[in-house]
């Protein structure tokens, strides 16, 4: 089996990308029987001359409008290697589809019209190839028939585009003059029309591209996809982005920075393995009962990713509204999702010159360099070192609005002063936090009756207290006796109960205490009220448990009474429970033991820089 090359074909609209592909396929015998006739018929029906682009432009709307809308791909066998051709639209309007195709490629073919020359999307696509990490680029100077096969015109474009590519850090593997419509220099040399050219044909140049380098070298990185329970084992699964996974070797989990050794590499069908390499999807166990969760990064213990809340990035903006400093988005990278805010916009690339310039508003299709900041410490790698972890997307609601790469990890900010609501006290939140060694916070445990909220909250308090933290548990027992003794269990009273608890918790947090509030708090609106009271110090912890399981547990006999009709509006029986939409932390009691749930909360406290002075990263 020869090495496969995924090749994306990019360039300005109407410079002939699809024609180059159609011709490559035809001249190498890669079109299936009947395809040519099918295309001829499709063209005839529309009353247009034969279009090679119909090979790829399969959608009715693409054929009717003679424009590539979405990326597609087609397989091609050549004597040298198998090539997966990825066609990418050249219209600015379909840029998201172009980057979709290009982000999956190993190398690129940039097509430029010899007559029209370097155009807007030629430059933009070149810039995006760099952003996407594509270093191997071949240039086809196409439609040479339109310029009388002029050697001088070819040299002129080669010089101009070569200089442009060099400016953004791309060294092209070759320039080939082609006339794709007639097949000149595509798969066969055009000695008759371009005798002055003695280089490779396009096919030759593509076949000569070196295969992708494996990323076995470098430090180990696995973005943890999740944990599978098997018998009594917790098996960590993920794909090795780089480095080598070896049984017995010490590894670190980030952001918690706990370490353990690899106990086993697990596979099915069962197979004894001591090592696994970059690119493999693996399953493994550790020799210590660490809490590991989706989104964590597993690395060599000695070479973990940086931990910070701030980094500089280059991104392609796809959002309809401009991106500006202060905007907040969700970021997905590796297997993690985090909240981020645009701390500042440094530079925006001018698509005419490919120079970057100071700017603030980033408009759709712009490439920009910005600084992003998160409220939590994130495991971060630069994309040049670990492409698999240094790349991210930004989400605005449900829409994907940007793709980008981490250029530089910046020092973590002090969290304290900006996260606490400013109050006119002489002793401010920062001073309190410095003395306590942690920030004040509200960890709000919500879930069904008997889901384990109070048990977990009490155990977390004990552990934090042992670390010298100022902590306090608020639960039904201690607030109903005093603060809320005037309240009953009607819907209105329950709402008022939660409102008061939310306000009290916020005051405790402001005073520097970590409050562990354990309340069923069944309504989203009430929890949102509590979140408003505490601001960014509020952390919603959803104790997720199967309703039937809770009812079986029923330590206080409440479910039994509710079933007997003695407790009206009892959540989980006759009252509704509204699950959190986007809680900061989910504790799934179906998947986690109580001890593991406690560890998860502690890891969260460390990761969110609540315990900033003791996490070793402030």
């Amino acid at each position: 089996m020869n090495a496969q090359l995924r090749l994306v074909v990019v360039g300005h609209v109407d410079h002939g990308k699809s024609t180059v592909i159609g011709r490559l396929l035809h001249d190498t015998g890669n079109l299936p029987d009947g395809k040519l006739e099918e295309l001829q018929n499709a063209c005839r029906r529309r009353g247009v001359p034969f279009e090679w682009s119909f090979v790829l432009d399969a959608l009715q709307s693409e054929r009717d409008q003679a424009v590539t809308i979405d990326t597609t791909r087609i397989w091609m066998r050549t004597p040298g290697r198998d090539i997966v051709l990825i066609d990418a639209p050249g219209h600015k309007e379909f840029l998201r589809n172009m980057v979709t195709g290009a982000s999956d490629a190993d190398a690129a073919l940039l097509v430029v019209d010899a007559h029209d020359g370097v155009s807007e999307q030629t430059r933009r696509h070149a810039l995006l190839l760099e952003l996407l990490g594509l270093e191997r680029v071949v240039v086809a100077v196409n439609k040479m028939d339109r310029v009388g096969y002029s050697a001088a015109r070819f040299s002129e474009i080669r010089a101009e585009l070569g200089a442009l590519l060099e400016r953004i850090g791309i060294v092209p593997a070759g320039f080939v003059p082609t006339a794709a419509r007639e097949g000149a220099n595509v798969a066969h040399a055009a000695a008759d029309t371009m005798p002055w050219y003695d280089g490779e044909t396009l096919l030759g140049a593509l076949s000569a591209l070196p295969p992708s380098a494996r990323r076995d070298g470098g430090a180990l990185r696995i973005a943890v996809q999740g944990v599978i329970r098997r018998d009594l084992e917790r098996v960590i699964v993920g794909r090795i982005e780089s480095g080598t996974l070896a049984v017995g070797r010490p590894v670190a989990i980030s952001p918690s920075r706990h370490t353990a050794r690899v106990a086993a590499i697990v596979s099915w069908p069962a197979r004894q393995r001591v090592e696994a390499h970059a690119g493999e999807s693996v399953a493994l166990t550790l020799d210590a009962p660490l809490f590991v969760d989706r989104g964590d990064v597993l690395s060599d213990a000695a070479r973990p990713p940086a931990l910070s809340d701030t980094f500089r990035a280059r991104l392609l903006w796809l959002g309809a509204r401009p991106l500006r400093a202060g905007d907040a988005y969700r970021m997905r990278f590796g297997t993690r999702t985090a909240q981020v805010e645009v701390a500042r916009v440094d530079r925006v690339f001018d698509i005419e010159t490919l120079h970057s310039e100071a700017g603030d508003g980033v408009r759709s299709s712009d490439v920009a360099e910005i600084v992003l900041a998160s409220p939590e410490l994130l495991p971060l790698d630069r994309a040049v070192e670990h492409p698999g972890l240094g790349r991210f997307i930004l989400l605005d609601g449900l829409d994907i609005v940007a793709g980008g790469t981490v250029l530089e990890v910046l020092p973590a900010r002090a969290h304290v002063s900006r996260d606490l609501v400013p109050v006119a006290h002489t002793v401010d939140g920062e001073a309190r936090a410095r003395r306590n060694g942690h920030r004040g916070a509200v960890l709000w445990f919500t879930g069904l009756p008997a889901s384990g909220k109070s048990t977990i909250a009490m155990a977390v308090e004990r552990r934090l207290f042992e670390r010298g933290f100022a902590t306090y548990v608020l639960d039904g027992d201690n607030v109903r006796a005093g603060l809320c003794r005037d309240l009953g269990f009607s819907a209105a009273d329950r709402r008022e109960n939660i409102r008061r608890v939310g306000e009290v918790a916020a005051l405790f947090a402001d005073a520097g205490t970590i409050v562990l509030a354990a309340f069923i708090s069944p309504y989203r609106a009430d929890r949102a009220e509590a979140r408003r009271a505490a601001g960014s110090a509020f952390h919603e912890v959803f104790v997720k448990a199967d309703a039937a399981l809770c009812e079986r547990r029923d330590p206080k006999g409440h479910y039994k009474k509710a079933r007997a009709g003695e407790l009206p509006d009892f959540t989980g029986v006759t009252g509704e429970y509204e699950e959190p939409v986007d809680p900061e932390l989910v504790l799934d009691s179906g998947a986690l033991s109580p001890e593991e749930a406690v560890e998860a909360v502690l890891a969260y406290v460390d990761a969110r820089a609540i315990a900033f002075a003791r996490s070793g990263v402030s």
């Binding site: 299936p32 029987d33 980057v99 996809q225 999807s281």
Partner: protein, 264 residues
């Protein structure tokens, strides 16, 4: 790591992303070579078990050998198998050409299944090299509440950072096999010794290259009676894989209409 190892690792990673990000989730299984290979990959991803329901959209038109294969494998692999009967052809859009209309019964069956079970993720074993509208697919491909595919407004999908959130009522079609080709599937099936329906192997000079329902699929001329011979045949053939699928060839836009309407 060779090409098959790489394809396997990608597919396993996609299956795990689907499982950890999208719930409730199920997988469609037509008992064909592709979805059977996908089942095998799921067993690899989850260490021997398939942790979600496996659904057959049943038109009652599969060949007897296919039903037999289903029953045997479901038992041997301990699958959580669900047989979803598809609505009759009389309920399907009468403007579709006949074979396309027959095929669209599966779309209707899937729509009913999703409406009833509330699935947010459907794993489907389609490949990009099969058919030119499938070549345009995303790995995590959002669908409208009625199951339709808004092919002109697909979201960006960058690297392997998959966007797995959809609005309430919408769902995702998840396609772990998009990068595989027909020949890759056969080489992998041979290497891993994955069971296949015997109809793929030639008997009396004919075999099914693409296995669909009996009313809309025809076998091809072939002497390939083992997987090795199938691979050798594919190395040289210039006939497209789905030549025997009647619904692909009725009109130029038939398959696109089928797929934008929610077909797999």
């Amino acid at each position: 790591m060779d090409l098959l190892d790489d394809l396997e690792a990608r597919s396993v990673a996609i299956l795990r992303e689907a499982y950890f990000r999208v719930a409730p989730l199920c997988m469609l299984w037509s008992m064909g070579k592709d979805s059977t290979a996908l089942l095998w990959l799921a067993r690899k991803a989850f260490l021997g078990t398939v942790p979600f329901p496996v659904v057959l959209l049943d038109t009652d038109m599969e060949l007897p050998e296919v039903y037999h294969f289903r029953d045997e494998l479901a038992t041997a692999w301990q699958l959580n198998l669900h047989n979803e009967p598809c609505p009759p052809e009389s309920t399907i859009d009468p403007t579709l050409p006949p074979a396309t209309r027959a095929a669209a019964r599966k779309t209707a069956g899937l729509r009913a299944l999703i409406a009833r079970e509330g699935y947010r993720g459907i794993l489907v074993g389609i490949r990009r090299d099969e058919q030119s509208t499938r070549a345009k697919e995303r790995v995590f491909s959002p669908r409208m509440p009625d199951g339709s595919w808004d092919v002109k407004h697909q979201p960006a999908e960058l690297w392997d950072v998959y966007h797995t959130d959809v609005a309430d009522g919408h769902h995702l079609r998840i396609h772990p096999l998009l990068d595989w080709t027909e020949i890759d599937i056969w080489k992998y099936t041979e290497r891993e010794r994955i069971p296949i329906v015997p109809l793929y192997l030639a008997r009396d000079g004919r075999r099914y290259r693409s296995l669909g329902e009996k009313n809309i699929t025809v076998p091809i001329q072939s002497q390939a009676s083992s997987i090795a011979e199938i691979i050798a045949e594919l190395e040289t053939t210039r006939a497209p894989e789905r030549a025997g699928r009647l619904m692909d060839h009725e009109t130029e836009d038939a398959f696109e209409r089928l797929r934008t309407g929610g077909y797999m």
